[in-house]
């Protein structure tokens, strides 16, 4: 097979963030492949949506503040209706 290009270092937080966005921000599960690259636009959009809702700086990136909030205990009901 052609080389898939440099294998990117898997970000250990990706699983957690993906779960969070699926649970609370309606990220569709088929987006799994999308998650290989956190800079793919659907994911960035969802991260921005989450940051906006939770009152964080909207960077579209998994900065420390965002990761801190994602780890906090919370209600299991989604933040966007679905």
């Amino acid at each position: 097979y052609p080389l898939n290009g440099a294998v990117k270092e898997e970000d250990p937080n990706m699983e957690l963030v993906q779960q969070y966005l699926e649970n609370y921000y309606n990220l569709t599960k088929e987006g799994k492949s999308v998650f290989r690259r956190k800079d793919s636009s659907p994911v960035v959009k969802k991260i921005q949506e989450m940051q906006k809702f939770l009152g964080l700086e909207v960077t579209g990136k998994l900065d420390s503040n965002t990761l801190e909030v994602i780890r906090k205990p919370r209600c299991g009901v989604p933040d966007v209706g679905h």
Binding site: N23, Y24, K52, F53, L54, G55, V69, R71, K72, P73, R74, C75, G76, V77, P78, D79, G81, H82
Partner: protein
């Protein structure tokens, strides 16, 4: 604030709820009290009323569960998701599920059941999450919420009133309680000359004056006494108490109502309470006590019942022989029945109705008579 897609809401104002099971983390009555208090938060700003069912189907079924529990929304172990609830509707809708892998508490440690229940019940009534970090309906659990001063934010009130309107008594304005309070009729006025107290106790240097569901709190560092709901500090305690006293050596306040008594240490109700007052040595003819005070020097506690009093030895933990004695024989000038007793400045202050008798235990006589509420700086 936000509501669920399609804005589901209850079409009736009287709703039923049932606590289906309990967490092993708390006594049952603490769970009952936390849920009741959480419902009251929403009751006070809407026309909604709630009544409890103990069997069968209720509008809001409340349960504790772990991991997969039959609704395709499995819980995730300790932390992260604490609980979830469903919008108004039949069957599963309206129900509240708590993740029992959390450590549920009555205080600020662990996960406070009242706080999460109030949030989840917001969902059961039709609110979705709020983006306002001050709002109860903000999705992330705020470990620093001051439980003693818990209040709905304007955002919460606007949200729930967008679904159900204001409570029938308010003039249509949006009610934002400065703290969760019942209709005005139930609030005692501290400078009412007829004010009497249910119970009075010291607590770690402060003095607590209990009345109905409330208490005033006199402390050295604030001139104005604080005014609080008993339930905002001790959700599992009843209101309309009979007596209270502090045993300094145990850093514990004992609180009496009817034939039961509780032990509290700071905010924490001690495990194993309430106990029956007869375990202290009262005869079965005694149904309740009127007042109590503990003398830290002598290590004796005095219980006042109608026109008599008992003396309890804190060292041997037993009621002393030769009691009860008549109050007037040993405290001449103090008229039964005694509502509460306070010791300060070497005097005993006996409260009876709106009067307070200052008794000098050395001279064995009443030296002054004041209004009961003189301690509240009226």
């Amino acid at each position: 604030f936000s509501t669920f897609p399609g804005t589901p809401k209850w079409t009736k104002t009287h709703l039923t709820y049932r606590i289906v099971n309990y967490t092993p983390d708390l006594p049952r009555d603490a769970v009952d009290a936390a849920i009741e208090k959480a419902l009251k938060v929403w009751e006070e700003v809407t026309p909604l009323t709630f009544s409890r069912k103990h069997e069968g189907e209720a509008d809001i079924m409340i349960s504790f569960a772990v991991k997969e529990h039959g609704d395709f929304y499995p819980f995730d172990g300790p932390g992260y998701s604490l609980a979830h609830a469903y919008p108004p509707g039949p069957g599963l809708y309206g129900d509240v599920h708590f993740d029992d892998d959390e450590k549920w508490t009555e205080s600020a440690s662990g996960t406070n059941l009242f706080l999460v229940a109030a949030h989840e019940l917001g969902h059961s009534l039709g609110l979705l999450h709020s983006a306002n970090p001050e709002a109860l309906m903000y999705p992330v659990y705020n470990t620093f919420t001051d439980l003693a001063r818990f209040r709905l934010s304007q955002d919460d009130v606007d949200g729930i009133q967008s679904l159900y309107g204001p409570p029938p008594t308010s003039p249509g304005t949006s009610v934002v309680p400065t703290e969760p309070i019942p209709p005005a009729s139930g609030i005692p006025a501290k400078c009412d000359p007829a004010l009497s107290f249910d119970a009075i106790s010291t607590l770690r240097g402060e003095i607590l004056f209990f009345k109905n569901r409330y208490f005033w709190r006199r402390s050295h560092w604030s001139r104005e006494p604080g005014f609080h709901l008993i339930s905002s500090f001790w959700p599992s305690l009843p209101s309309n108490l009979d007596a209270a006293y502090e045993v300094n050596s145990k850093d514990t306040v004992f609180i009496f109502k009817g034939n039961k008594f509780w032990a509290v240490r700071g905010n924490e109700v001690q495990a194993g309470y309430p106990k029956d007052i007869h375990t202290l040595g009262f005869p079965s003819t005694i149904r309740k006590i009127d007042a109590a005070i503990s003398d830290k020097e002598k290590k004796k506690t005095y219980f006042f019942v109608e026109d008599k009093y008992w003396r309890f030895d804190e060292s041997s933990q037993s009621m002393e022989r030769g009691f009860p004695r008549r109050i007037v024989d040993d405290f001449p000038g103090v008229e039964p029945k005694v509502d509460a007793v306070l010791e300060a400045f070497g005097f005993l202050y006996f409260f009876s109705g709106s009067s307070q008798f200052e008794f000098d235990p050395n001279a064995k006589r009443v030296t002054h008579i004041f209004k009961s509420n003189s301690w509240l700086l009226c």
